[in-house]
């Protein structure tokens, strides 16, 4: 369970970014602010 003030669990996931397939690991972004957004699905309306 996520709690504010506690560490976010690390993960690595495949990604599409600026025309390329890549991989994103949360802990590679230590030192920066991260906004992690989930959404129901591509081509959905909202």
């Amino acid at each position: 369970m996520i709690k504010v003030g506690k560490k976010a669990p690390d993960f690595e996931a495949p990604a599409y970014h600026q025309g390329k397939f890549t991989s994103v690991k949360l802990s590679d972004h230590l030192g920066k602010w991260v906004l992690l957004c989930f959404y129901p699905g591509d081509f959905t309306f909202v």
Binding site: I2, F38, D42
Partner: protein
């Protein structure tokens, strides 16, 4: 991040989102097949097989500073998210010596928590500011 594959992400970006945002989506579109990451973050809907609208603010130490979760039909307010990030950044830069009251926006006054402020917030901060 959604349960869609990177291939579907590419099609959505290239054929629709790039028509809304010049140059396409500027940030990585992550794929979470099976909702594994969403499950760990507590926002995966197992019945529907999709992620709900979870949004997490993670600071440079990897600590979750805030989150919001909405059901699918209601969209987020990105300005409010950015306001929160700016507030957390200000607090962090002040090493916790300042706090941002309700309704705070960049440029508005912050509060300096301490013995002198106890019982005196009413002198410097008005409730109407919470709605600004």
């Amino acid at each position: 991040m959604s349960v869609d594959s990177v291939f579907v992400h590419k099609m959505w970006n290239d054929h629709e989102l790039s028509k809304m945002v010049k140059g396409g989506v500027p940030f990585p579109m992550l794929s979470d097949g099976g909702g594994k990451v969403g499950t760990v973050f507590g926002i995966y809907d197992e019945d529907a097989g999709v992620e709900t609208r979870g949004r997490f603010i993670i600071d440079p130490d990897g600590v979750v500073q805030g989150y919001e979760v909405l059901t699918p039909p209601v969209g987020r307010n990105v300005s409010e998210t950015m306001r929160q990030v700016q507030a957390f950044q200000l607090v962090r830069e002040s090493k916790g010596s300042q706090a941002t009251p309700a309704g705070w926006r960049p440029g508005k006054q912050t509060l300096k928590p301490g013995p002198d402020l106890v019982g005196k917030v009413w002198e410097t901060w008005k409730t109407s500011e919470a709605f600004e």
